[in-house]
């Protein structure tokens, strides 16, 4: 890999708190290494802003390895930036070249209000899980784990859906701010396993009801969500959710 340095123009959304009106501010950064991660590039900017007596750009992040789902930046019109199946924290600066301009915004959705700068409130996702995204068993005396064999293909499909990191990029990418990909991933994860069967109906109904209540929009099949999802959660989960939902509705 050839390494190189670059200078960039950053247009970043600044918003002091949830009450205030936001605006874009422009910053120039120099000497950025192609080996840096995108967030390390923002770190460099922030260190400078602090030294210059300005407020650094607030952004959410924690694991910086693509698994916690905390990071959330809308970069040049795309959640998590240009790479496929990727989170912002895994994006590296070799994706850019000297002289590029980069616009950075928070997730935009009514159900995800801005808290500060690039940080939004995603607690709606937790409330959707509270509505039924679990299997109701208490800690205690479950049966031996191998007493119930599970078809490997089903287990693998369940795992693929369970890989969702709850980042919300699907919502940010969707023109309707729909949370269907997120909700369907959870419904599939649990419905595909025999352990999840007893609550299939109530789970699908209650989670969808909560999703509506939180103000997420409906799904009109534009597939923007799937194309930006860092964990490649498939739209087939939405089909699965719809069928679970209809099944639950019919047998109500």
């Amino acid at each position: 890999m050839e390494h190189y340095k670059m200078g960039l123009t950053l247009k970043i959304w600044r918003q002091k708190n949830s009450q205030s009106k936001g605006h874009f501010a422009t910053y120039k950064v120099e000497d950025i290494s192609s080996e840096m991660s995108f967030l390390e590039m923002i770190d460099v900017l922030n260190e400078r802003l602090i030294r210059e007596g300005e407020d650094p750009v607030a952004f959410d992040h924690d694991c910086r390895e693509g698994i916690c789902g905390t990071c959330s930046m809308y970069i040049n019109g795309r959640p998590h930036g240009p790479w496929h199946a990727n989170t912002v924290c895994q994006l590296h600066m070799r994706a850019y070249k000297d002289g590029d301009s980069i616009t950075i915004e928070p997730w935009r959705a009514n159900a995800f209000p801005v808290i500060k700068d690039l940080i939004v409130d995603r607690s709606a996702f937790d409330r959707i899980i509270q509505a039924g995204g679990y299997i109701s068993i208490n800690t205690g005396n479950p049966v031996d784990a191998n007493s119930l064999p599970v078809d490997k293909n089903l287990a693998d499909a369940s795992f693929a859906a369970a890989a969702c990191i709850g980042c919300g990029a699907c919502v940010a990418a969707c023109k309707n701010s729909s949370a269907m990909l997120f909700v369907s991933a959870k419904v599939s994860h649990l419905a595909l396993l025999p352990q999840g069967h007893p609550e299939r109906k109530s789970r699908a109904l209650n989670m969808v009801a909560q999703m509506d209540k939180e103000g997420f929009g409906g799904c009109t099949n534009t597939q923007a969500c799937e194309s930006v999802c860092p964990k490649e959660i498939s739209m087939t989960n939405i089909a699965k959710l719809n069928s679970e939902f209809i099944f639950a509705g019919l047998s109500e």
Partner: protein, 657 residues
Amino acid sequence: MLDSKIPPGALEHKWNEYKGHVKLVNPANKRKIEIIVVGTGLAGASAAASLGEMGYKVKAYCFQDSPRRAHSIAAQGGINAAKNYQNDGDSVFRLFYDTIKGGDYRSREANVHRLAEVSTNIIDQCVAQGVPFAREYGGLLSNRSFGGTQVQRTFYAAGQTGQQLLIGAYQALERQISLGNVTMYARHEMQELVIIDGKARGIITRNLISGKLERHFGHTVVLCTGGYGNVFYLSTNAMGCNVTAIWKAHKKGAFFGNPCFTQIHPTCIPVSGDYQSKLTLMSESLRNDGRIWVPKKQNDNRKPGEIPEEERDYYLERRYPAFGNLVPRDVASRAAKERCDAGYGVGTSRQAVYLDYAEAIIRYGKVECHKLGLENSTTEVIRQYGKEVIKEKYGNLFDMYEKITGENPYEVPMRIYPAVHYTMGGLWVDYELMTTIPGLYCMGEANFSDHGANRLGASALMQGLADGYFVIPYTIGNYLSDDIRTANIPTDHPAFESAELAVSDRMTRLKNINGTKTVEYFHKQLGKIMWDKCGMARNERNLKEAITEIQQLKKEFFSDLKIPGDIYEMNPELDKANRVADFIELGELMCIDALNRKESCGGHFREEMQTEEGEAKRDDEHFTYVAAWEFKSEHEWELHPETLVFDVAKPTQRSYK
């Protein structure tokens, strides 16, 4: 005198005996008792959910925006359990023994045995919750092997085991939240512990959105706040991992156990530049199939593919034929450092070794071709099938590697180097997981128990969930049964007031320094001192220097720190400053502990104490103890050794040859 409260009786009966006689709290009383659980990673989420199910009123806290994001989410490789599903000779005793030996005989037999006993329940529990572990075609659970063991007892979900386990615990927790048994306080950071009449009775938190300080009462407080590897600045831990909660407890009287026991993980992506903000682990499971090597020639500039087989030094296989690439982490890390220090390192920095899959790809490819009746395939076809198998096993790790380095590990060997990963040390706890402060518990990575001087792979997840699902639900009742008459203490009690004042004073002090240097600057300085002088190899002179340097750094921190913004608003820099201030003090104690322990054991390698072959040399006569440190005053601690007794697993020199 420290009382570890180990129950009497034979090792294998202690836990059952304990459970049979422990005091209980009746359901009506449980409803009146409030429990604070700080931290909702594997340990905290499993505890909060289980305690909520039992009928206690639980309040849970985390600094992330959701409990689903705790650092446990990042665990990759797997979780151990003595299920013996593979029929390869595993048993509770063997898991117990491997863990004690892996920890280099510096952990408590009774705790470790209990851990091995409950390990099997954890897998049952998780499967019932819908954790999609990897399975075989017959539908049964699959296992892999991990370092330091010769059986296959590790359960996994691709390279995302921590994620799947945490999602399971998180869902159980969210269920209790919806039922009203648990109240969740996300984006809240514990800043102080409140002690009333000698008992832990509450905490002060900072609401990270508004910046406001809040007071919370609990009949008891359970700390599950994770490890403190970020004291080294660069580590595989998430950015927010910190020591603050347990450090505050320590300064209020909780002893700190074995602070210097740090695990340096052998397989991480090497540092690429000084802007580096964290290091990324490549799971130990990769050592199942990858082979580690360096060139036999010093400063070899050839590309890996140009170095013929006979000019490669598979140094782990050479030095440790019995365990080969699967030696425990401390051994593998030191061996990598030894090669690089001797000039055999690879890559531009020469601080790296190769982890190579070429052979495994061929091996798996041949098996697949055989299954499909394609015996006469070309190498290309074999490799193609082999790559598919590797992708299924480690795909997400390989992708992660490629995203960071821009290199394709299916084609060129990975470059790896050791990095700080896990802290075996933590608050000292007794058998019931209670600290030296009555009513204050500590679980998961935040306590010192179970792993001794070195943790075996896939056993942190096991410990976190054992503590949360299966230990605390019993032991907490033993304490609370005496507390059923204690009414809730109002938070205008003077102890709450003074605790809150201490926090706001410190914030004001930090904010008012108005110096010239950022928090990052100080954190990096601290990390460098710790890595150079209290890292993979330690000696008396370096440790003494480190102590002076850290004291100096502390002075500079409190006179030249610059924090932007205000106190009573969202202010991530202030949050970081709070954490780094505690890391600086912790760093000093770690060096004091490392200096005191004049032996090499597990991850603690004192250069003065090694065998002729360069292996760690324990001094059982003088150091078969847990070093529990009591905070006295600034720069001053008192040592309380807890002598370890080995009735069953008699200490021997660890050998993986």
